[in-house]
């Protein structure tokens, strides 16, 4: 059964690939269709126009390629006018040929997808560098790296990977499923013990997953929600900085509390995820941009002197929204959902104060 399912998936993707042919494939397919419509004594006279967003350079290749493909030597040839329109729809580009003969027009079409432009490479900022650690399909919540071992927490559970000859290989797993929209989770390794928190559940066990992980209700994340809970209050993130506590609250703003838990102010600059870091001789904050979760995010370093946010680094740009940002070592770990591939990527954000 498993094999059958696998084949089904393959068939599905083959089917999708068949629809997503290249420009060259589409030209070739359209030429064949047009040829089948031409009588032996007919030759094509082509005109093309571009009604699509296809770049002019690509569009300009179509007429010569079609002309070549339709070339034939015929004595006393009769010319048939063929108007080719480059159009587009939801699924991609479309070549539409109108084959015109004395009051009769027949239509042929071929679809193609343009090559996706290369994703913008993450460009490290002057003082924050993002290094890709791991990438996977399943929604990743957190990751902990220790030498040649890596623990990855995703919505299905925690997975242990071991590095073997430079490649990460999965060596153990503990299922802890979470079924929450905008899921969150935290993985913390202390010595040989790993603690895992997902909404409504807290777990503890050996970091090498050699024996079972013990889970119980409770923990830092609110059950069925995307918030953290503490003292009966819900919030998204908190960070201690210079005697103050910054809290991303449910109103979407960042609130400032002093050491006596008295409200000191509120501001609106960051998103819901930030991390307090000790770096460059100060307590700073790494914060994700205040973008929509369907837009690419960046993370930048901020100083919070005098309770005002001052950006002190260039932003590290990512290819998608930052879905998690947790403290890691002297920097942070950012999980990014790549908008093009749909994959989740974990980046180690390291700070460089020498620049």
């Amino acid at each position: 059964m498993m094999r059958d399912v696998g084949r089904g998936i393959c068939l599905f993707f083959l089917c999708m690939a068949a629809n997503a042919q290249t420009l060259d494939d589409a030209v070739s397919a359209l030429a064949k269709k047009i040829s089948s419509r031409l009588a032996p004594a007919e030759i094509a006279r082509l005109t093309t126009r571009n009604l699509s967003s296809l770049p002019a350079a690509d569009a300009a290749k179509i007429q010569p390629a079609l002309t070549r493909a339709l070339q034939r030597r015929v004595r006393d040839a009769k010319t048939v006018d063929i108007a080719v329109t480059i159009s587009e729809n939801l699924r991609g580009y479309l070549l539409v040929a109108e084959i015109k003969r004395e009051g009769d027009v027949s239509i042929e079409m071929a679809e193609f997808r343009a090559g996706a432009p290369a994703a913008a490479a993450a460009r490290p900022a002057a003082s924050v560098e993002g290094r890709l650690v791991w990438e996977q399909e399943a929604p990743m919540l957190d990751l902990a790296l220790s030498g040649d071992q890596m623990l990855v927490l995703d919505t299905a559970g925690v997975w242990l990977y071991s590095r073997n000859a430079g490649k990460w290989e999965r060596s153990a797993q503990a299922p802890i499923s979470t079924n929450v929209r905008d899921p969150r989770g935290r993985l913390q390794v202390s010595g040989d013990i790993v603690s895992i928190d997902v909404p409504g559940i807290t777990c503890k066990g050996p970091a090498n997953l050699s024996s079972s992980i013990h889970c119980e209700e409770g923990g830092r994340f609110t059950a069925g929600r995307n918030t953290l809970s503490s003292d009966g209050r819900e919030f998204f993130t908190t960070a201690d900085i210079g005697g103050d506590t910054l809290v991303a609250e449910l109103d979407g703003r960042t609130h400032i509390y002093d050491a006596a838990h008295t409200a000191q102010g509120v501001f609106d600059v960051w998103g819901s995820d930030f991390v307090g870091v000790s770096a460059c001789g100060a307590r700073l904050v790494l914060a994700a941009t205040d973008n929509d979760r369907r837009s690419p995010d960046s993370v930048a370093l901020y100083d919070f002197s005098n309770r005002a946010t001052v950006r002190v680094s260039d932003p590290v740009e990512f290819a998608g929204p930052v879905t998690a940002l947790w403290p890691a070592g002297d920097g942070a770990l950012a999980v990014v959902r790549n908008l093009k591939s749909g994959k989740y990527a974990a980046y180690n954000l390291a700070l460089d104060c020498s620049r």
Partner: protein, 425 residues
Amino acid sequence: MRRTIWRSIAAASALSALVGVLDAARRPRYGGELRVEMRATLKTLDPAEFPEDPAALAAQRLWQPAVFETLVRLDDHGQPQPWLATSWTHDLARKSWIFTPRKDVKFQDGSSWSPAGGAISFPDDRPIDQILRELAGARNAITMRAADGTLLGTGPYRIAKWDAGKPATLVANDQYWGGRPYLDSITIQMGRSLADQANDFQVNKADVVEIALRDLRSAKQRGTVTSETPPMETLALLFENGRVPPNVRAALALSIDRAAIHNVLLQRQGEISGALLPRWLSGYAFLFPAERDVAKAKQLASAAAALSFAYDRDDPMLRPIGERIALNALEAGITLRAGNGTADVRLVRLPITAGDPWLALLDLASLLKRAPPATTADAYEAEKAMLDASGAIPLFQLPQGWTLRSRVHNWPRFEDIWLDPGAAP
């Protein structure tokens, strides 16, 4: 102020998988009630029921995915993706396609969705892409009738109240397999005129209301938060009783000055078109002519009898367009007389209900009371055949617009909508 632009469209409901751009950007907040108003009156969300009123059909297709789900869904590019079915394969005899159901899916009463035999099969009588496309259609949503007669689905919300003519209420399905939606509930006021909706929005009685196309631009200029689809509605003339001969229908099509109506009455919103399906969906709409040729129209319409002409006179968009069409027709020698009830010609709004040409044509065929397109037909041939058979004259494809309170995020992706308490009222 914020503005939502819909960049692309697809999914089982054409409206449910849109990629919106909002600039609010925090983690979504759980809780709250969303108050929505609309003109249409929809008696039921039951996928088995097909509303004959185009506006009700558009509303049904918009709201259905909130409650009912299909085995596959169309993605932003109109491609089928696993949904309630996670994979599919041939049986060993290669006579059926076997679909594997997603685990842990529950109906909204908590009972498990477990197809008999642990799988669902369909005869392998057609290519798989045609089968998938059909399964993505709203008519093929998975439903169950509870003992008390309640219709249940597997979607992110369950129907708490839906009585014709009364406000409907959807409440969050806590056991939704994709995670509980952010909102606690959605209240839908139906049968509200655009003027009433605007008033309710003004006095904070509604969070999302429809907006007339002609008001969309000024609303944006005022800084009101709006959401706008690509063209999702085709304005067309339909011939109701078969009394109008083909030459007069052709003459009427040639007489209409679409460019003037588009420039002046529609303020250049939407697109001029002679096709039923908009260009973003088909890519070939330009193949259907939409040019005006009064001289040819006069020739074709010589000695044509007067025709009765109907449209919704309370519709602030249809009325001036209807009046202009009557003037244009007169220039070609065709008299259109205002009529009520059954008419020779009717100006209507036809909804584009799916992100797949074939599925959209299937609904249009039902509305136009024509045979459904052949499952094997290519979209262009199917659309051409439907236009030839119905004689319908498409005129324009128009976007749909809403005004939103700034606290509303991700409209209209129902499971992802959330309310920002920190936003301005």
